[in-house]
């Protein structure tokens, strides 16, 4: 970073923030992942013992010997991927409608997207338990209408997890998509129509490709936290198939196996670096095009 002192301060504050609250804790976790469990305080072996470096790779090896970890990881990736896809399918039309509505309606609609954040996240997930349980609102209404005669099992299923994640993360898909779609030049759509493109072709050839950065940003904001989601699957999900976030927390708090928990955390991080790098490529390309 060169330039004036002002510039250096502006760039320096977030850099310091990242160093203190991300880089250093990450290095600590990385260090712990290479140690062994000890019944001590703290409950792991020091990396530097008797003046010698003693890294243990056993934690990582363990993750691949016990199928629990790989299965949880794959299950988490699947849940996150399906949820992201659902968020795109539901969020895209909503974001598009908001971006194309009038100024007053637009503000009201955006407000409605953000409004749920005013209630505690935990409370909202509990509310879904109340809605989905056997004698919950959904089952009661369906039975009252005579559509079903026996309550459906909704709670503690994959279905409930998808509902919980899509419901909670939908705004994170809609907002970046809206920010992208709102900037689109309407004359481009007119130009495409003028050149003979039907409305669907206009969407496929113009709107969709131009909104890819918005889709990418929204997908990352949904996918990454969804992979490590802990509360939603714990409250709404199955008990026979845990997501990786729950496994990590159990490892840490129940088993008090900090090294294995750290190894799980590092593995998760490595897996999530791939989509982040993909997004950066898309963003770099759009930045170049915008120049």
């Amino acid at each position: 970073m060169s330039g004036s002192p002002g510039k250096r301060i502006v760039a320096g504050v977030p850099s310091l923030w990242l160093l203190v609250l991300f880089a250093i804790p990450f290095l600590i976790v990385l260090k712990i992942s290479f140690s062994e469990v000890r019944l001590a305080m703290p409950p792991y072996s020091p990396l530097l013992e008797n003046g010698r470096l003693q890294p243990h790779l056993s934690n990582y090896a363990f993750l691949f010997t016990d199928p629990l970890y790989v299965r949880s990881l794959l299950y988490s990736l699947k849940v996150a991927a399906v949820s992201t896809l659902l968020c795109i399918l539901i969020g895209y039309p909503m974001a598009y409608a908001i971006a194309r509505s009038g100024a007053t309606a637009r503000n009201a609609l955006l407000m409605m997207i953000v409004l749920p954040f005013w209630t505690s996240f935990l409370l909202r997930v509990y509310a879904w338990m109340g809605l989905l349980k056997n004698d919950g609102v959904v089952n009661n209404v369906l039975m009252y209408l005579g559509l079903i005669h026996r309550p459906l099992v909704l709670l503690n299923t994959d279905f409930a997890v998808y509902i919980g994640i899509v419901y909670s993360y939908l705004p994170f898909m809609i907002l970046p998509l809206y920010a992208n779609l709102e900037k689109h030049d309407v004359t481009l759509l007119e130009a495409a129509a003028d050149l003979g493109a039907h409305p669907f072709a206009v969407f496929r050839r113009i709107t969709l490709p131009l909104s890819l950065p918005g889709i990418a940003a929204g997908s990352l904001l949904v996918f990454i936290p969804a992979v490590g989601e802990y509360i939603i699957p714990s409250l709404l999900g199955r008990s026979d198939q845990l997501m990786i976030g729950r496994v990590l927390s159990d490892e840490f708090f129940e088993n008090r196996d900090w090294p294995v928990a750290s190894a799980v955390a590092i593995l998760m991080l490595l897996l999530l670096v791939v989509p982040i790098m993909l997004l950066q490529r898309v963003e770099r390309r759009t930045l170049e095009a915008a120049k």
Binding site: L188, A191, L195, G196, L210, A289, A290
Partner: protein, 369 residues
């Protein structure tokens, strides 16, 4: 008007009949009727808010007329959506697709027709050669200069061989030198392809160079239609006279006589009314005098020419010509221009000097509205 003498056999290609467009309380286009002939360049000239762009957008199909009909080549366009009209448009902002290369942009329209790939490639290549952009096929719009973008936009609009090409302020985004050059190139391309052009512009110079005929719009109405020379030399109203070029206008009163004349105390002279202009004696009329049609000199003019005396208040030297502001006896200030034919004229006129203004009797026009 002289357009009455024009042969009527020329084909009417685009017929706009009684078209209006209302946005809420605002009448953007007010009962416009207009015929455009095959192969001509028709310019719609008007200020902002005159309704010219709305009229163009109705031809493209982006707006539906509140009343009236539009026929293109005999076909009623009322129920035809933009993507099925035999019309293409070049947008003022060019509206090039930012995520596509030059070649892809131009091919877009042909791809919608499901032509086979080799044919598309050939036609895109030909069109890019015509606009001299053959060397830039792989560039994206952001890698092009303004003039290059304009060419790509033109190629994209022409490649589908439209019956009518609509151009919305085609040269507005170019700088002055490039604009002059492009004007003549646009004329060449139009001649080469024989497409009918309809150009919307607020720039009278652009309209005058491009147009075979032009229509002047004001407050949603077409005020006058004619060749550029018709409109400049025989404006129908004070608005047209003032909008196209500059003009000195004097209010006066119609005198009875054979022929009738207009006496204007503002001008301090009686101007005969030309044949064909209907006037009623005693009514208010206006005398219009173009600045370049007024002779200025220190010596008195020939006796048989109308003229007035005045004093120069301001001189602006513009290189090719000089502009003089002259206060005449009535107190009105006239604008007079004189080309600088000689490098250092002996009769150089300076501010504060006493001068004689005169003009040919037929140069002063009488306008009734």
């Amino acid at each position: 008007m002289s357009s009455a003498a024009r042969p009527q056999s020329e084909e009417c290609y685009v017929r706009i009949a009684g078209v209006s467009k209302r946005f809420g309380d605002f009448m953007a286009v007010d009962e416009v009727s207009l015929d455009v002939r095959r192969g001509e360049i028709f310019c719609l000239l008007g200020g902002s808010g005159s309704g010219k762009t709305t009229l163009l957008r109705m031809l493209a199909g982006f707006e539906t007329p509140s009343a009236g009909t539009i026929h293109i080549d005999g076909q009623d366009m009322s129920a035809v959506p933009p993507y099925q009209r035999p019309v293409n448009m070049m947008f003022q902002s060019y509206a090039l697709f930012p995520h596509m290369t030059v070649e892809k942009n131009v091919a877009f329209g042909l791809e919608q027709e499901n032509l086979d790939r080799t044919q598309i490639r050939r036609r895109v290549g030909e069109m890019l050669e015509i606009v001299k952009m053959g060397a830039f096929t792989a560039r994206k719009p952001h890698q092009l200069s303004g003039g290059q973008r304009q060419r790509v936009a033109l190629a994209r609009a022409l490649v589908k061989r439209p019956k009518l090409l609509l151009l919305d302020e085609p040269l507005a985004a170019l700088d002055r030198k490039l604009r002059e050059h492009t004007q003549f190139e646009l004329l060449n391309i139009q001649k080469q392809l024989g497409v009918t052009f309809m150009v919307v512009t607020h720039d009278q110079e652009e309209a005058m160079t491009l147009a075979t005929r032009m229509g002047v719009m004001n407050h949603g109405k077409i005020v006058q239609v004619g060749t550029p020379a018709d409109i400049y030399e025989s404006p129908a109203t004070r608005f047209v006279a003032d909008f196209i070029g500059s003009v000195n206008l004097f209010e006066g009163e119609v005198l009875e006589g054979m022929p009738a004349g207009v006496r204007s105390s503002e001008l301090g002279a009686v101007t005969p009314v030309a044949r064909g202009v209907a006037v009623t004696s005693g009514a208010t009329a206006w005398v219009a005098l173009r600045p370049e049609k007024i002779r200025i000199g220190k010596a008195p003019p020939q006796a048989d020419e109308p003229g007035v005396r005045g004093r120069v208040t301001e001189v602006a030297y513009l290189g090719d010509l000089s502009v003089y502001l002259v206060r005449i006896e009535s107190g009105r200030v006239l604008r007079v221009t004189r080309p600088n034919v000689i490098r250092a004229p002996e009769d150089r006129i300076a501010g504060g000097e006493e001068v004689y203004l005169s003009w040919h009797a037929s140069s002063a026009l009488v306008l009734t509205q």
